[in-house]
Subunit: 207 residues, 2 copies
């Protein structure tokens, strides 16, 4: 009967336009009109797939959050599946590889991190995004927590760690690095941030 257009694919296309607008001009500029133009659609088309602006924004937020965490989870599950490296260096390399998916180390991840920051900050005052923000907190908490557990399970970890405390500190390091790298890329280059993360992980397992 109808014209066939994959609705889910269309929604993701619009979400991608949201990401581009936010990355380039900030969340305040992510109006329906700007998003529609960036997506190459008419305003009415966008509104055909999203009843509300609120619905669009929550959808985009969740896509962004899931994209980031799925990337990290893939690497994490690979890490958990195989044997833990016997070398300190290799262990840190594996773990930092997982967590690096949360950092803006290249252009796509940078865009993701920017969008993520803007949404999280907006969720503070925008109650329509608070549920998605809660889910995001849980997701990163799970990823980081599981990485810390991997570190502790290794016989290389000579230090006795309090997993919850160290996970919290590690989350702070990640958030802080991400923020700096996003806002001040001139001073916080990708290799620089990654090196700081690696040093922190080394500190965790060497007394």
């Amino acid at each position: 009967m109808p014209k066939i257009v994959d609705a889910d694919q269309r929604r993701e296309l619009v979400a991608d336009a949201v990401f581009h607008v936010i990355a380039e001009r900030g969340l305040t500029q992510a109006s329906l009109r700007n998003v529609a133009q960036r997506a190459g659609l008419a305003l009415g088309s966008v509104r055909h797939y999203f009843d509300d602006q609120a619905e669009l924004m929550e959808f985009a937020f969740r896509v962004n959050s899931e994209r980031i965490h799925l990337r990290a989870l893939e690497k994490l599950e690979a890490l958990e599946a195989e044997e833990l490296p016997a070398e300190r260096e290799a262990l840190v390399e594996k773990c930092s590889g997982v967590l690096a998916e949360l950092l803006p180390l290249d252009e796509p991840r940078r865009a993701d991190a920017v969008v993520h920051m803007e949404f999280m900050l907006d969720a503070r005052t925008n109650t329509l995004l608070s549920d998605a923000a809660q889910d995001d907190y849980r997701a990163t908490g799970a990823v980081v927590g599981r990485v810390v557990l991997q570190l502790m399970e290794s016989p290389l970890a000579t230090k006795v760690l309090a997993p919850v405390d160290e996970a919290e500190r590690l989350i702070a390091v990640l958030d802080g690095l991400s923020l700096r790298m996003v806002l001040q890329p001139a001073w916080s280059a990708p290799e620089h941030g990654l090196a700081t993360l690696r040093r922190h992980l080394v500190d965790l397992i060497t007394p």
Copy 2:
């Protein structure tokens, strides 16, 4: 001749209104009208003291940034003036006292931190705020850097530290903690964040 009104005082009053609006409803709601209403002034009055919205925002940003850093600098200079504590615990206590001024540990500091975050993130895409953001980066870099130097000067510091690297990591911890405490106060209580900061400082000077 004229009605006498202290212009500088008036500008600070308006800036305070900006802070309240941002803390309660976010930067996007900090319109001239909302700010004027919060300040108990007419729109025309606000515009009498600030030609532009841009001028108001940069002024508010700088007041916020200076307020935060001046608080920390006061404590820092007190720390640098007196003898370094001989007890490890006392040293960490002093240093964390300085850096705690950068964290949202009580309501006024929480409001400052929220406003600070919103401005910093906005400065990414708002070129009119980028100069103020640069000055802010330098200011926190100076404060944190001097604290790290204090830690290294103490004979209690058994570890040999790379000051620049550790300052960068410490800044990340502070930014990350601040972000978490601002966005997720339910999970990141003030005492909790302060404890994490203290643990990090202890880790810095104990091998």
